[in-house]
């Protein structure tokens, strides 16, 4: 078994309904895309191991499960996030305009200790639609907004074609890790409720 330190990073994906948050997550984790749109059903959180240089990260990527549709995400969803991904649809101006609301909502609900430097990443998704002809948000406009909010990294993606998805999540991983506290945070001795009747093992299983 590898002795390299493993890091668990929580990443949450925010944005308007229908911009492709679930599809991005599924494309990255499962290499799948579905054309069938339904306001998200069945999406929860997924984990994927990412290796960057010689370090292995476990990304725990949380979808909104559709609760963002009527602004009904709870504070528990935001707690402990290491990076916040903001997604908009390049073909829907309103979804871009709402990025500001989503960013501010995150900062209110998550209350990070260093709000000025909390890592966000913005994804402009659905660049494949109509071969780019129905695009209404220019790359220049999006980059300007990202620059004005503290140089947020920006990627143009297509969940359908898988374009730029891996590059985006590599950046997300790096930024999430930078945000990880240096010192080990206070970790209460939690118990495994879902486990069987057996006593909690203190040994390594490998």
């Amino acid at each position: 078994m590898s002795s390299r330190r493993r890091v668990l990073l929580k990443v949450i994906i925010l944005g308007d309904s229908g911009v492709g948050k679930t599809s991005l997550m599924n494309q990255f984790v499962n290499r799948k895309f579905s054309n069938q749109y339904k306001a998200t059903i069945g999406a929860d959180f997924l984990t994927k191991e990412v290796q960057i240089d010689d370090r292995i990260f476990t990304l725990q990527i949380w979808d909104t499960a559709g609760q963002e549709r009527f602004q009904s995400l709870g504070v528990a969803f935001y707690r402990g996030a290491d990076c916040c991904v903001l997604v908009y649809d390049v073909n829907v101006m309103k979804s871009f305009d709402n990025l500001n609301n989503w960013r501010e909502e995150f900062l209110i609900q998550a209350s990070p200790s260093d709000p000025e430097n909390f890592p966000f990443v913005v994804l402009g998704n659905k660049t494949d639609v109509d071969g780019g002809k129905s695009r209404v948000v220019s790359e220049k406009k999006a980059k300007a907004w990202c620059a004005s909010k503290g140089n947020i990294p920006y990627f143009e993606t297509s969940a359908k074609e898988g374009f730029n998805v891996d590059a985006a999540f590599e950046c997300i991983t790096k930024n999430a890790f930078k945000n990880e506290p240096e010192e080990e945070p206070y970790l209460p001795d939690t118990i495994d409720v879902a486990g069987g009747q057996q006593q909690r093992s203190t040994g390594c299983e490998c």
Partner: protein, 444 residues
Amino acid sequence: MDEEYEVIVLGTGLKECILSGLLSVDGVKVLHMDRNDYYGGESTSLNLNQLWKKFRGEEKAPEHLGASRDYNVDMMPKFMMGNGKLVRTLIHTDVTKYLSFKAVDGSYVFVKGKVQKVPATPMEALKSSLMGIFEKRRAGKFFSFVQEYDEKDPKTHDGMDLTRVTTKELIAKYGLDGNTIDFIGHAVALHTNDQHLDQPAFDTVMRMKLYAESLARFQGTSPYIYPLYGLGELPQAFARLSAVYGGTYMLNKPECKVEFDEGGKVIGVTSEGETAKCKKIVCDPSYLPNKVRKIGRVARAIAIMSHPIPNTNDSHSVQVIIPQKQLARKSDMYVFCCSYSHNVAPKGKFIAFVSTDAETDNPQTELKPGTDLLGPVDEIFFDMYDRYEPVNEPELDNCFISTSYDATTHFETTVADVLNMYTLITGKQLDLSVDLSAASAAEE
């Protein structure tokens, strides 16, 4: 809105969120609404500023208490029994993946003027200072009987039919004294008063077995567990389960008005000028005040402290039950404490609660026996709230209303109400021995 659902749930209290989750997993089309902009309703956890606003009418709490967001103060403080119904519901639905738990440090009872640890096994009874040496032997025998009792095995019944023999008669057979009866009945079997003594002993024995099983479950120093970040996590976790299975969530919907047809049957809910149609309504009492009746009041105190409760062996999370007879009251009084160990307060801070069924109009005076156990407090709030139960007939109007939360510091009555409502709503019994995710994995 302006859509059709099978069930509309109003209020995001724990009971309503569990039901929303269970119904969505069953494939029911659920809309879940709340007038507040947060989850939990009456059973939420508040941050410090929210606490100040609710109890002091001020927007901001004093700076010296620490960051507002570090506080998660439960409005319905209860611990979860390790082998109890709520834990089994969490496992059944796999909602444990959204939550982290920690064992509660201590379970205590106030007897003979002292706070004392509750023994629940023959071995613990022998070590306990609650009893003298001869009483210990008698109690040890009683605990052994309870431990070995198996409903289906007559050899374990010691010649008694516990569905007929009363608790008083059972205890008399073992010759236990009044103080022992008090702590067993109230701190182990968790009865809220002494009426159980004249009832068949089966229920009390099963409750004692649950306590012992819960104690053994996580090898803790008490039978209880409690979620990190407080109980407000539980409604959110079940709400997420519902959403993952297709439930629609709308917080911050003022004035959810339930609409009825000429025959008095529910047809939908109107809010902000839009109406969603449905066949059934599930709600807490506040959404249908004309269909509930008041059944009592709870007096409670909430305190912020900088130390554990004295005489609890420095426990960072603890329950102390004060049996009614120790106070010459009709109902028990409950003291509950949690702290930064469970991420419900900043480092070094503790949150304590005292609650009981109110028997007077003055919570401060009434709760004094409990608040006196706390030692010095930084801040304390006193409150009374009404409890309601439904008086409608669900088969006539298709409205299913939960009963208000009681003063106890555990969830068994809460989940019993939920399971009963689930059966009324769906006509089905929930089998908590089945792990849903394991069952669905078997189907694939």
